[in-house]
Amino acid sequence: MIIAEQKKLSEITALLGDASKVLVIGCGTCVTVCFAGGSREAAILAASLRMSTQLAGNGKQVADVTVQRQCEWEYLDQIAEQVKEADILLSLGCGIGVQAIAEHFPDKWVVPGLNTSFLGLPVEQGIWSERCAACGDCILGLTGGICPIARCSKSLLNGPCGGSEAGHCEVSKDIPCAWQLIYDRLSSLGKVEMLYELQPPKNWQKARDGGPRKITREDLLLGEKED
């Protein structure tokens, strides 16, 4: 899922400026599961903003609403009335949600309440860890299901580097060396010989280096489209 964390209240307050009617919009998908921008967090942030602005002497009207997914037009349609009433929209979605709101409500000013961090998973309650870099050309089939692009600090394809020390990355003792993990996993599965095959340089054009990406599925398009 997409992992995000909330911005500091002072930064959010600065983004809101002098707008008096604020609509905090939560998202019911990824950021709900990572406790950053679901209905509970939207309610907490709305209450925090009401309290802090009242204490600062410029009390704002802050309401909150949560949609199932901010990144789909159909769900955004459901809050059109509340959006109309607001001076400013504060999205607790990921960066995609914020942009979807901006695109769907072109006459409204929208600001982000979260910093979108990475694609990952909760390794335990309260701890999230990066797992995917969305590189566009998955190589997990070569590495035993452990991604060296996302989990190696250098995204090496034929690692490890000299900075791997006792299973940890030289960047931080808190980061396990992805290539140590790959070696250990392939060893335990009796497939370590796979590592003898050298990987050629990766085609990064399928990642962000090729510019913004887009996927079109002709089989899913609706209605008549010109070729």
Partner: protein
């Protein structure tokens, strides 16, 4: 009433979220023993302090409670193993959040006691009341504005 009622503001109200396995029973025992504790304390019974949520405390303060105390079991004695530990962590989090909001973090406190500690319940109620009196009424109280 405590001296908070004598000033020109209404009596302080302090919400006490009490675990039914310890603090709530201790308050009950204090009553049975005819022990006095400040009338500002309004008890809300919880099945465990692990039930407490940041939003519940925030809403209490936004609605004008002057202070909130969360009273759970002694370390290692939680009926649900670790609810009191989790509550302690959340209270710490909300105190940080109150700092960001601009409201005194000291308005929220966590206490730990057992069901037999009626005297301790009286003591923490008095301590909480004293501390909140020092801070004065919640500036968010609607009837103050």
């Amino acid at each position: 009433m405590s001296d908070s009622s004598s000033a020109n503001h209404p009596p302080l109200s302090i919400l006490a979220y009490c675990c039914e396995h310890c603090a709530y029973a201790a308050a009950d025992l204090a009553g049975s023993l005819r022990m006095q504790y400040p009338p500002n304390i309004r008890i809300v019974r919880l099945p465990c302090t692990g039930k407490i949520d940041v939003l519940i405390i925030l809403q209490a303060l936004e609605d004008g409670a002057d202070g909130v105390m969360v009273a759970g079991c002694l370390p290692g004695d939680c009926h649900f193993l670790e609810g009191n530990v989790n509550a302690k962590r959340r209270v710490k989090h909300i105190r940080n959040l109150l700092g960001e909001i601009g409201l005194e973090p000291e308005r929220v406190r966590m206490y730990q006691l057992s069901s037999a500690m009626a005297g301790e319940f009286v003591r923490i109620s008095e301590e909480m009341t004293r501390e909140i009196e020092k801070l004065g009424p919640n500036p968010l109280k609607k009837n103050q504005r």
